[in-house]
């Protein structure tokens, strides 16, 4: 009977169903974005560089390679974007000193995706990246091999040939440095203890989670390694994330309210239209609770259909928004299915409340007489 009531009164029901579908679509889409915003923003902010630094702990001159391995192990659960260690030494070229950083450039590519390289990233152990200022100072060119000199404890210079494959432009202090594989520094400074001065990590975590990760590293390395949060970055990420989620939450609420009004108005007109039918049912002995069940049954079917369609359209809507705004795909949360259906049902039933109250007040004697 409920199915017939919906299927054979298409025009009115299509309007009610459309209101629910539109509402459920927008709500489902916004919720998908709402749930995905922290991940999207985290990925977005990862392109601005590392958000936690690991530095030498108490009485330590460098961070040992074994500790880097340990850090990698500890952070592996957090799905790190990249972890790169840096050792800084002063080297010379034509007797002019400048800073050389030994690192793992494959990881640096991940931790610092914002680096602009004119040329290529180094591929081999003797290939280096040169900061723009260093390149200007020494008139270095891509594809050319140069000699740089390190220094041992007794002052004997050790020289190594390095090939410049790329010029680094960041607009920051990185342009004053030459970057190459850590093994270059180990060759140039054989008597110096090998290790890192700082380890940069880029993790898809919020500030509080980063602090926990830092504490875990500190504890696991017996305080040989300390940590610093890159607050400039994490504060901005948290602030933007909070504002965006609040904005989406408010928009979702407004959409829910509008849907409530639309569905409520349609249901009210449905009741007005069916006053005679309600009167007839009451005349045939329908109790108030049966009238309520009939309307809520229709409401449930509409809410269920609207909710299911809203999930599909909502995901498409969220994908379009995500691609337009964040330029990447949105992930689908399975939890959105019950949430959207429950919200669609709740809104439909809530919107039916006033019309149903009006329906049970129908006096069969009056409406069947035609008054």
């Amino acid at each position: 009977m409920i199915t017939s009531s919906i299927l054979r009164r298409k025009s009115r029901m299509v309007i009610a169903l459309l209101s629910i579908i539109v509402g459920a679509t927008v709500v489902s889409g916004l919720l998908a974005i709402y749930f995905d915003i922290p991940r999207q923003l985290s990925q977005e902010f990862r392109s601005y560089g590392s958000n936690i630094l690991f530095v030498t702990g108490k009485n330590q001159e460098t961070i040992q390679k074994a500790d880097l391995k340990k850090i990698e192990e500890i952070l592996s659960e957090e799905d790190p974007t990249g972890i790169s260690g840096f050792r800084y030494e002063t080297v010379r070229m034509n007797e002019i000193p400048f800073t050389f950083s030994g690192t793992q450039l494959s990881q640096v590519q991940k931790t610092n995706p914002y680096w602009y390289i004119e040329g290529d990233w180094p591929d081999k152990k003797n290939e280096v990246l040169v900061g723009q200022e260093v390149a200007d100072l020494f008139l270095l060119k891509e594809g050319t091999t140069y000699e740089i000199t390190g220094e041992t404890v007794d002052g004997t210079g050790i020289t190594q040939k390095v090939k410049v494959v790329g010029i680094l432009q960041t607009g920051g202090s990185e342009e004053e440095i030459m970057y190459g594989d850590l093994s270059i520094l180990e060759n140039l400074f054989p008597s110096t203890e090998s290790g890192y001065d700082v380890i940069e990590a880029s993790l898809p975590l919020k500030q509080a989670q980063l602090i926990n990760a830092g504490k875990a590293v500190k504890q696991e390395t017996n305080e040989r390694v300390g940590y610093q949060i890159v607050k400039k970055l994490t504060d901005s990420e948290d602030s933007v994330s909070q504002k965006l989620t609040l904005l989406i939450f408010l928009v979702t609420l407004i959409v829910l309210l509008i849907t409530l009004i639309c569905v409520g108005t349609t249901m009210m007109s449905v009741v007005q239209e069916r006053r005679k039918e309600i009167g007839l049912k009451k005349a045939m002995g329908a109790e108030n609770k049966q009238i309520v069940q009939d309307f809520f049954g229709e409401g449930c079917m509409l809410g269920l259909c609207g909710g299911i369609m809203g999930i599909i359209f909502g995901y498409i809507f969220a994908r379009i928004v995500s691609v337009q705004v964040f330029s990447r795909m949105i992930s689908f949360h399975i939890g959105l299915i019950p949430i959207t259906i429950a919200l669609a049902l709740f809104i439909t039933l809530l919107a039916s409340l006033i019309p149903v109250r009006s329906a049970i007040k129908v006096d069969p004697a009056l409406v069947l007489k035609g008054e």
Binding site: M1, K281, M284, G285, E287, L368
Partner: protein, 191 residues
């Protein structure tokens, strides 16, 4: 034994009496016509007997119990179990087929039974129109559908308010004949 008894039943709207001190006794199997000019209170009386309105004063005894003292829920249950209604304007549900319209009455009474509903339609000569919507039926067919719906739950009293007002002479006679036959066969009362 009286199935229905009315004692000094009055219905007053503000200062105006729609009914005043009505007495009536109906026995099982009686077939009664109430006639009167427009505004004489026929429909008001039908509404009181049909448990859709309560009298301002007086006593209405249906099947041994005083229905004038019942609350709304009690009246609904009596209406469901003991009354069959036939209306001048048919009041069929437009989006339900003929058989579904009959099944609505079953649904609110007990359980819908399509076979039984089809048998009821067969009795009024509408079996081949069972899957048609009311808009696809003629006036006479709609009235017979109304009769099938009113009789499906075997009511104690059938109340028909100007049941043939919308029918031509031929259909009027056919409807009267059918109602009368049912009343005498099933020992029910018709007003």
């Amino acid at each position: 034994m009286n199935v229905l008894e009315l004692e000094n039943v009055s219905m007053k709207y503000k200062e105006l009496f729609a009914l005043q001190d009505i007495d009536l006794a109906v026995q099982k199997g009686n077939w009664i016509s109430i006639m009167g000019p427009s505004g004489s209170g026929k429909t008001t009386l039908m509404n009181i007997i049909g448990c859709m309105s309560k009298p301002t004063s007086g006593k209405v005894v249906l099947d041994g119990s005083d229905i004038s003292k019942e609350n709304d829920k009690g009246l609904t249950l009596i209406r469901r179990d003991k009354i069959g209604l036939i209306f001048q304007q048919f009041h069929l549900i437009p989006y339900l087929t003929a058989v579904e319209n009959v099944m609505v009455a079953q649904y609110y009474h007990s359980l819908p039974d399509e076979v039984e509903a089809l048998q009821a339609l067969e009795r009024v000569g509408l079996k081949n129109r069972a899957r048609h919507l009311p808009s696809q039926l003629s006036g006479g067919e709609q009235q017979r559908l109304c009769i099938a719906r009113a009789l499906i739950n075997f009511p104690m009293i059938i109340l028909a308010d100007e049941p043939t007002g919308n029918l031509d002479e031929k259909m009027k006679k056919s409807s009267w004949r059918f109602s009368k036959n049912y009343t005498s066969r099933a020992l029910r009362s018709s007003l």
